[in-house]
């Protein structure tokens, strides 16, 4: 009775008719669409299927550690840690002497923290490759084991058959 005023649900997509004979002949229906590649719009925003960590400049944050093809992660992380401690001390001093100038120090601290997190995130691809190596190694291990098992069983079976032939011949 109130359906006129209440919002009705959107109708189902019209291509349901294409699947009317699916139970009798699965090939009469169109195949599923291929996966999306590249960039696609979703709810008004554009997303991309490429998984890449946006660099710090893209996020509008200054990058404190030196850029370059090869970054010595350990060294940079340790020096950032040291910088962080120094900045915390600086903040404590500023709060004692010139308390109204806290803002810049706090921003510096948060900048250092963001850089640290960005460095750690950029280590994730390396971790992914290491995981892949580990998986491959364990798979190779399992396959070798399986090959050994099959060989052993086959030999046992051959042995049994020979024995049975001998028994039968001797009778």
């Amino acid at each position: 009775m109130a359906t006129g005023t209440a919002a009705s649900y959107p109708p189902p997509p019209p291509f349901y008719r294409l699947y009317s004979d699916y139970s009798t002949d699965p090939d009469s229906a169109p195949p599923p669409p291929p996966p999306v590649e590249g960039s696609y719009p979703l709810y008004g925003a554009t997303y991309t299927t490429e998984a890449v960590l946006p660099s710090l400049e893209d996020q509008g944050v200054r990058q404190l550690y030196p850029k370059g093809p090869n970054i010595d992660f350990k060294k940079e992380l340790m020096s950032l840690n040291r910088d962080l401690q120094l900045h915390i001390l600086e903040l404590a001093d500023v709060l004692i002497e010139r308390p109204s100038q806290y803002a810049r120090r706090v921003e510096d601290i948060s900048l250092i923290l963001r850089n640290m997190h960005h460095l750690l995130n950029s280590l994730r691809p390396h971790q992914a490759r290491a995981t892949l190596i580990h998986i491959l190694e364990s798979q190779i291990q399992r396959r070798k084991q399986a090959v050994e098992d099959i060989k052993r069983r086959r030999e046992e079976a051959q042995k049994l058959l020979k024995e049975s032939i001998q028994i039968l011949d001797s009778q």
Binding site: K74, L77, L95, I109, N121, L123, A130, I133, Q139
Partner: protein, 230 residues
């Protein structure tokens, strides 16, 4: 640090204190408009950092899928440690600001009613702090003890967290990207080879099994035929 400054102590650890800290927030921020809200901003910037971690498995929860640090991979441990350091810093400054006793601003004003802090680090105070009040009640002396011990304990915790971070960084098993890619290529080739061999063996074993089954069927048929009905 005197009580002239509003303090925003955000004890982020205990959820039971959340209502209390909310109350403190509301009370203190209703005071002077120039109150330093930097702790609030710092904690917000920390929280917003969590949402930038596109590659963390669970960017919204602070419990990292409920895993204890012993079960997490080292990079997640490092990330947790960074957050811990930031948390300790926020708590340190917040607690110190909240619990700092008032200081004497000038000789014209009377001495503050609460017990003065013997280790007051504020040097802009023109008047040197006199000896602690000979107040026999337990509360002020206890307060003085707490206020003296807290910075030591908290700064010790901060330094320890930083050392743990350094230890974790040193434990990172890093290697070059080319080395990894090379190893992956080698392993893939080996995997292919052993996969082929496995398949060969499987096929041979299947064949043999069929033959044995045939033989068995023949043998049982013969047994049945030879068996004389009683």
């Amino acid at each position: 640090m005197g009580r002239g400054y509003d303090s925003l102590s955000l004890d982020l650890n205990t959820s039971s204190n959340s209502s209390q800290s909310q109350h403190i927030l509301r009370r203190r921020t209703s005071l002077t408009s120039s109150s330093p809200r930097f702790l609030l901003r710092l904690s917000f910037s920390l929280r917003s950092q969590r949402h930038h971690f596109a590659f963390r498995e669970n960017p919204d929860s602070t419990s990292t899928l409920g895993l204890t640090p012993g079960e997490m991979d080292i990079i997640s441990q490092l990330q947790e440690q960074v957050n811990t350091i930031a948390l300790l810093a926020v708590n340190t400054f917040g607690t110190l600001q909240r619990d700092a006793p008032p200081v004497r601003l000038s000789t014209d004003y009377p001495e503050p009613a609460a017990n003065s802090n013997p280790t007051n680090p504020n040097p802009t105070n023109g008047d040197a702090n006199p000896n602690p009040n000979p107040n026999p009640s337990v509360n002020p002396s206890e307060e003085a003890n707490n206020v003296a011990e807290q910075p030591k304990a908290m700064s010790a915790a901060l330094v320890q967290a930083a050392k743990k971070f350094d230890a974790l960084v040193a434990a990172l098993p890093l290697s070059g990207e080319e080395a990894q890619l090379q190893r992956i290529a080698e392993l893939q080739a080996e995997n292919e080879a052993i996969g082929l061999e496995l398949q060969k063996q499987l096929e041979a074993a299947d064949l043999e099994m069929k033959q044995v089954q045939e033989l068995f069927n023949h043998a049982t048929d013969n047994c049945l035929n030879l068996k004389k009905p009683d």
